[in-house]
Symmetry: C2
Subunit: 319 residues, 2 copies
DNA sequence: TTGTAGGCGTTATCAA
DNA sequence: TTGATAACGCCTACAA
């Protein structure tokens, strides 16, 4: 491995001079700087990250933690985070799985962005307590080193419910996500509140944000001699797609006997026929804002929590 | 930050004893080992990765390089890689973008798995030349430090063409991917060879593996007063979906006037109606094998290049 | 069984 | 403007 020592030797200077030159310090002549740079290039020198990190105590890398890599959902979000971090000279690495959590206390990353319901809150708080900066996208945690960029779940749910009501719905089935999950809880709370306000009866059907759970829910709903139309607000598009799948096996039609609104505006929802009506938000922006927040908090600037707002997307699945 | 020094002090022993104890060396009493471990836990000690790496000269991290994070395509593959690496005690980080390439020469990662046509071959070879181990999934590079786990593109293409021929196709439109891309080139070569062998006329339509390029291709095909049925072999599912999108805007029907076979067996292709006939392979296995190869080559074991085989998946889009 | 000390490759503080 | 040198936190001969 070629290090600054080799360069120093070849250039006939000391290692500190090399270090200065390579780091663009004004303490060396432009001439020697150029000469040393040339030698460095010639030798294909690349600084050893471990050594540099050991000394500087920062890596300029942000870790993004996801529960899994499935679904086209994450694509745009990661893109947004990456673009955002680039603006500040940070690199992004994407991690998943328990062991990679250690990157945080090990100081392999300067900060973390978490969208992973699998990541225990206790653990996050512990890292924050040790002084690590963290931005969470899927929960609320109160700590000076933790900040959040959250979806406006309540606003989104209210949008969906308002549409259902405008569509003369007589009863609404709320196809919920995991009970302990923040997003699902918020959507549920806002939905029931809004429905109650308008005096519309509703029923909560448990789900877990996966397609199969949507499929099962649809099966169950149609098995019980239902009253049509059946109006469903699925707390994410994936479960809504599961409903489509089951309904497709019957003679019922989405948008007629079964009316449904999703949440997330995924690619698949936009492709199915009829198009899935859903709640949309900019995943790209979400990522950009998260990146901005983590950098700000690392740099010790004051950072305010922020929300990502939602809009309603029309689709043939509802009216 | 709490280091072994702090532990040593609190335990009243030297730092080396702590190091030995924490690393399970047989050079310390089980008793002191337990005592030191207890103190380490109490102090929430986590080893500093930079320092450890500097000394050990390895991180036990493999970098996976992707062109982007889009599409559900990568989900299973990454899952396979992660699972595979776990078996050998390695962690995975997912990277994208030019700057993260530096992780390789910087020794931030012990090895790299590359599926990123954006990553210049020259650069890969350069890193290999410096002694870094690399596994590529999307090209053939000849170097002792580079190994490949490739799709059996030719076999897959032949499968598709054989079906088309069995379906009495009179002419086949080959909807190709990027010209310089390895996968597309292989599929094209095998397709034309097979078609020529059977004396079936064909026409190559340029595309770039994106949905819009499939859409455009369909538009173009249908504009020229074509002869039905139009038989298409799209070199990936995404472009095939583009074809679906355009056809849907017309009165023609997929599976009737337009018959099409894709490649990749993506989730979306399985969902559309009629189901997209396509070439399938195990992305999970692909990842597992890639993981195995990179670890083997890091550990200096002999490693043989391997192929991932394909199968045909029936769908209403063809016959 | 435990302690001392040198070194991993850089950076940064002093002197020169 | 440069050079010698001490950290950074951990590992590991070698010595005790």
């Amino acid at each position: 491995m070629v290090g600054i020592k080799d360069i120093a030797q070849k250039a006939g200077v000391s290692i500190s001079t090399v270090s200065y030159a390579l780091n663009g310090s004004p303490k060396v002549t432009e001439e020697t700087r150029a000469r040393i740079q040339a030698i460095a290039n010639e030798l294909n020198y690349v600084p050893n990250m471990a050594a540099r990190t050991l000394k500087r105590r920062q890596t300029n890398i942000i870790g993004v933690y996801l529960a899994d890599y499935a679904g086209s959902f994450y694509g745009e979000l990661l893109d947004g985070i990456k673009k955002g971090l680039e603006l500040f000279g940070y690199e992004m690495i994407v991690c998943s799985g328990k062991k990679s959590h250690l990157f945080i206390p090990e100081r392999m990353v300067d900060g973390a962005i978490i969208l992973d319901w699998t990541f225990p809150a206790k653990e996050i708080e512990q890292y924050a307590q040790r002084g690590h900066q963290i931005v969470v996208l899927d929960r609320v945690l109160s700590h000076e080193n933790i900040h959040q960029v959250l979806l406006d779940n309540k606003g989104g749910a209210a949008l969906a419910i308002d549409r259902l009501i405008a569509g003369q719905s007589q009863k609404v089935f709320l196809l919920a996500g995991p009970e302990k999950g923040y997003d699902s809880r918020e959507r549920l709370e806002a939905s029931t509140k809004e429905l109650t306000r308008f005096g519309i009866p509703y029923e909560v059907i448990p789900g877990d944000f996966t397609e199969p759970s949507g499929y099962r829910a649809a099966k169950q709903l149609l098995a019980n001699d239902p009253q049509f139309p059946i109006d469903i607000f699925a707390f994410n598009d994936e479960m809504a797609i599961g409903v489509y799948k089951y309904v497709r096996e019957t003679d019922y039609r989405i948008g007629k006997e079964i009316r449904i609104i999703g949440f997330d505006n995924t690619e698949l929802g936009a492709f199915v026929q009829p198009r899935l009506a859903t709640i949309s938000y900019s995943k790209h922006r979400w990522g950009m804002v998260a990146a901005e927040k983590i950098v700000q908090s690392i740099q010790g600037e004051p950072v305010a929590d922020e929300h990502i707002y939602t809009t309603f997307v029309d689709g043939g699945s509802f009216i």
